[in-house]
Structures are given as C-alpha cells and as structure tokens.
Symmetry: C2
Subunit: 409 residues, 2 copies
Amino acid sequence: MTSRPLRFGVNYTPRTNWFHSWLDYRELRENLRADFRAIASLGLDHVRIFPLWAIMQPNRTLIRPQALADVADMATLAIDEGLDVCVDVFQGHLSSYDFLPSWVLSWHQSNIFSNPQVISGQRELIKRLAQALSSLPQADFPGVKNARPGEKGLIGLSLGNEIGQFAASRHPLRHEITVEESEAWLKQMFDTTREALPQGCHTHSYDDDLFFDPAHPFTPLQAVKYGDLTTIHSWIFGHLGRRLPADDPSYGFFARFLVELARSWGAKDMWMQEVGAPSPWISETGGRRFVTDTLSSLASAPSLRAITWWCSHNVSEDLADFPQLEYSLGLFDTKGQLRCLGADLRDFISDYVPGECIPLGAPVSLSANFGTDFTQIAEVRRASSPVKSGLFEAWLDQRVDNNFASICL
Amino acid sequence: MTSRPLRFGVNYTPRTNWFHSWLDYRELRENLRADFRAIASLGLDHVRIFPLWAIMQPNRTLIRPQALADVADMATLAIDEGLDVCVDVFQGHLSSYDFLPSWVLSWHQSNIFSNPQVISGQRELIKRLAQALSSLPQADFPGVKNARPGEKGLIGLSLGNEIGQFAASRHPLRHEITVEESEAWLKQMFDTTREALPQGCHTHSYDDDLFFDPAHPFTPLQAVKYGDLTTIHSWIFGHLGRRLPADDPSYGFFARFLVELARSWGAKDMWMQEVGAPSPWISETGGRRFVTDTLSSLASAPSLRAITWWCSHNVSEDLADFPQLEYSLGLFDTKGQLRCLGADLRDFISDYVPGECIPLGAPVSLSANFGTDFTQIAEVRRASSPVKSGLFEAWLDQRVDNNFASICL
C-alpha cells in the first residue's frame, strides 16, 4: 500500500440542465463556486469536468475561443475553491448520450479513431485546450510531474469519457477499428497531449467492456500502457446487475475486483475514476453499505492513488429520457442539497486514516487464483462477463474465506 | 400570371462561422444589421433563417430560452432592416451536415417522424418558438392571412430545411417511414403550427428526390397538400449536373421545370424557396446567364409568388469539409463584399417589371406533353431522374420550339 494519501474526488455534473448547460455558460457559472465549495466541504479534493466535443469544435477547423475560455474558467473556479481539476477532452459519450460533432456523422461519417483528417482535428483540439489551460498551476496529484507540494491546480487531460465505447461491437453506430489502429490512435493522442502539457497526469478511460469483450479493439494492455495512471470505471449494472438482486453484498467489492483485474494485466498506479451507486441495484437504504464496502475495499488496494465518485449532482427530472439510474447518482440533489450518499461518502473520508486498513495486496490478487502467467489466464480473464466466467465469484469466495469484508469495515 | 408582385429574397447564411455562429450569438449579432441592410440594398425583401435543432432543444424537454430569444432577436433585426422573415424549425440538415439532437441518435436512436415521444418534443418546440415570435408583426407576404398592406414582419414557420431527406432511401442513417407515417407527421406538425401562429404562411420543404424517387415516403401530393405555399428547391447538380457540362444552357430552366412539375401534381401558389448557382456546374463567367435564365423563366410562371436565392454569404474557406460548391454560393463573400452573383441578381430585380414577361402558363405545362390525367402520367413523372426519363428534355424541347429562351431575356 502506498504511503501517499489516497485522493478522493467527484465527477462534476452541473445541477441545472446537466452538460447542456455549456450552451449557457454564464448561467451555469452562477452555481459553480457554490457547487465546488459544497464538494470541497465533503472532504473531496478534485473534480473531473466534461466539455462537449460538438460545442467545443463544431467544425473540424473551428475550435471556439469562447468554449475554450469557458472550460478554463470552470477549471479556475474549481481550483479557487481548493479542488484539483482533470479535463476530459472528447465527449463523446456521457450517461447514455453520444455527442459527436456533425463533421464525423451521417453524410460526413468518418472513423473517429482512424481517419487522418479527424485525427488532425482531434490533435488540434488537444493543443488548443492545453494552451487555454496552460496558465493554471499544476496540481500536486498522483501522476503529475514536478508539482509543488500541496499545490491545487490542473491534473491533466483525459482523452474522453470512455470514448473507446464507440469502437465496441455493441455500439449502435460503431467506429470499427483494429487493435493496431486503437494503438496508433492512443499513441498520437498521448504524444500530442504530453507535448502540449508535459507535466500533467494524462489518462484515457473505458468501460469494463475493455476487460470482458475479447473482440474489443481497445485492450487491457493499452489501459496499462497509455496514461500516467491506469483508470478504472466501475459500474455494477453492466454485468453483476443482470443476475444479482438489489443490494447484493457482492456489489461493494466489484470496484476492487476491477482493480485486481487491471493489476493482473500489469497496472501499476491506478485511478478509480468512476464508481457510483446506481438505483435500483443499490437501494436508498443500501447506499451506506455499498459506499463503505466499495471505499474500504478500494482503500486497501496497493497502488490505487485516487477515487472519483460519479457524480456530484443528480440529473434533473426535468430532463427527459435518461436511463432511470442516472437521476439519482448524485452526492447532491439538483438544488444543491446533500443527499444520504454524499453524507456516507463524507463520513467515510472523514473517518479514513491512510494505512489503517490491512494491506491486502498479494493474497487478494487474481494471481492467487489463476497463477502469474498472464498469457495463460488471458482467456478466462477476457473471455466473457466476469459473472459468466466465474472469475468474480472465485475471487470473491477467496475474499470471504479471508474474511476480507470485515477487515476494513 | 399573378398581378401581385413576385417577391425576391435570400436564405441567410451567417458569414462568420456559418450556422455554428448560433453558439456565439452575441458575436454573430454584430454583423446582423449590416448583413440585412446589404441584403435589402439588392432589392431583396425577405430572408429565411435557420436555427440548429440540437442547440435549440438539446434534450427533449429542454428548449433553451436563450436560443428562442436569439432567434426572435435575429428576426427582429431583419424586420428592422426592411425584410420579412421565414423561420425554419428543425435543422436537421444544412449543406451536407446533419444536426439532429443527441436524444434521437445512437443509443437514443428514435425515428424523428414516427416516434410519439419525438413528435411530442417537436410539437413543443414549434409551440415555444411560435410563442417567442408571436410579438412580431405579420408580414405582408403571399400565404399570410390578414396582413396589413406593406407590413414587414414574420412570414411564418417552415418545418425544417428539407427534413424529409432523413426518410429517403439514400440517407446514410435513414429514418424509415411509410407514406401513412409521413402524412401523419405532416398533419401533426401543421396542426400545431397553425394553432400556434394562425395567420402565418407555414411551409415544409424537400429536395427534388420527392419528385424523382418513387420509394420516397414524402410525396408530391403532400408537397401540394401541406403548406400555405408549395415550396420548391432547385439544385442542378443532383440530376442534370451528372451528365451535362459546365454552363449547359439548359441549367437555367431547371427551376421552372420543377415549378411545372409541381403544377402537374396540382400545386397552386408556389415558392421557389431555394435556387442557387453551384460551381463548377455554373462557372464564374456563366453566372449571369444562369441567374437571368433562371429568374426570367421563373418570373413568368403562373402562381409563383416568391423566389429565395441560396444563399446570402459564402461559407468561409476557414471551415473544413463542406462540399466544394458550398463555398461559392453567396451573393456576398465572407467579408460582406458583393459578388458578381449578387450584382446579377440585383440587376435582374431592378430591371424586372411584373407582367412584362409573356405569360407562359398552359403551353409550357407538363400537361401539354403528357396529358392531363395525372394518374396516367405519374409513372413517368416519378419513375426516375428527369434526365433518365427524358421528361426534362421533352419539356425543354418544347420550350426551345416555342422560342421560350428568348421571350423573357
């Protein structure tokens, strides 16, 4: 276990008009200081923020100066309120909605990972965004180079929220690519990002399809290879939720399982960049246990550097057509009032003492179940759902044998 | 021929950042008065303006008050400068780019013509937009009810620029519907529009696929049945341009041909809502003849009430990936300087005396070639391209026999 303190933060979701509020940034701005202050008051120390690609870059060669200024302004306000900031570049995808710009869609259909013109446009957006953020201080955050101790500032860029989804076979308008093409795309994006902001902690993210869909052109090895931290997004509804009942006690250990899975692929420093308590899988009364199990089991994970909850504020019921779960993921409601979930998170962070949990590195690692020859176990790891393959259950049984659940509670 | 004067106008295309400039309306606004004044100075008396649907209504139940205010403000400025204004609602489609909102795309893929929830959202946008425009005076324009003579104001709503394209078989992400569904959609949209703005001249528009694709779920009979005027969009590159050389003399008569085609389906009062001089089919030096032939042949068409050129301003070369022709369709360049095309249009309008052209109603109608039994000739009319079917050529031969080309020049 690292001696450096684990960092806790949240993915910032504007409480009025969700991310559509970028279209009315002056109105959005009225809530920002109060929202960031409320977030910091829970003991959280960082946020991840999400511009929308189509608003930033409505034409391939039009990157709106005002949009860049708005993102920089939001980041500045967050830093002012004591939060470090990670900026996701290509949204791309958020909470079931896709936001690709018109210049890659329909009559202009172009592969966002392999088309050279699209890539040149993406690189330009990274450069311009980096430039707009370049006057911000660098955060003292895992993965950031040469930060001043205790400095609040910019963490770095994340390529885009789970943007690899667009290449998955389950995507309705799939941008089909090979592993070689995903590799080339990641290399170009990271080269551009590192050149633009050399000190930053830059990452990319993906949903757990990357781990469980053997046909996925983005791979676990890339999750480990690219980025200053290996990010993980943990959502229980995808696999576990299909066959387990509400408030099943195993839900609280899925995030840690994914950490171990990433570690089995060679991940070193990691960032649990999204984890949330989706209803109805986690009920109103089951929230506290889920939060505690999730954070306790994560807190003991070697090399896990940061946990970023999804999300800060509920999606307003005034907005239509979101999957039902998205309306109640917030630590705060749409009026900015703290919800039980937020209080549970605050209480955990407040009680949390680094190092107090027993280090559970080797014994809980997947290698204990499946050996250390990653090539040999790759098939079972990536063959299918972790539920179907029995991988999660086997790992969990081992945890129960070791009385894991009680160790950190 | 009508004794009422023919109306000349232009489709307004912002000269900086094209329609993406809605994202920065305060900047766009700085050019508006000057642009509208320049348009009026050519003798043009109306504009058609184009909000983007995804910016107006980013979520099904979020219609942005600021976006409504921006559209109303643009309309007000145009009226202030002596122009009547038609507002297109669902863009939808413009110059090769599609702009559907995220709530009908990808994971939220919903048919924009038949999904009841989408339709309820569309009706709401029509109502809210109508409300935002309701304080404007009604234009004294063909199709408007009870207008004060000479009043400048709102013409009405057009459902969306060629929105039927999304249902055509050639569309890459087709919203497939039956003729019954297109009929039901049009009825609901027009019922809502008429209820919201009873006096307005409300229309819908389509490209000429509607006339030449027998599988198109939007039909010529609907073009005639729905709307206070039957609109026509005339683009020579679609059919003629595929086999005729640059500056072919027949190009200047295609718009009139479409008018006659619409008339053969029963169209009464008509609006040539889009016609333009696309390069390379019309060269720099061929522009004047094309403008003159097009406008002369149209000016003599019975029941044609208005002609609206496409478009006011060139698309800036700073914006990438438009089809080449879109960069040079403007009457003005991106600095607001008059182009030859604009001067040609101005000269025609300035010389134009209503009634001076010889009325060419009956002799040039398609009935002369193909009889008056529309059912009998429906097959040849809608079987295929007018070039392949010989319909345009036969009609044109008749025109040459009658020395039509020289009559109005």
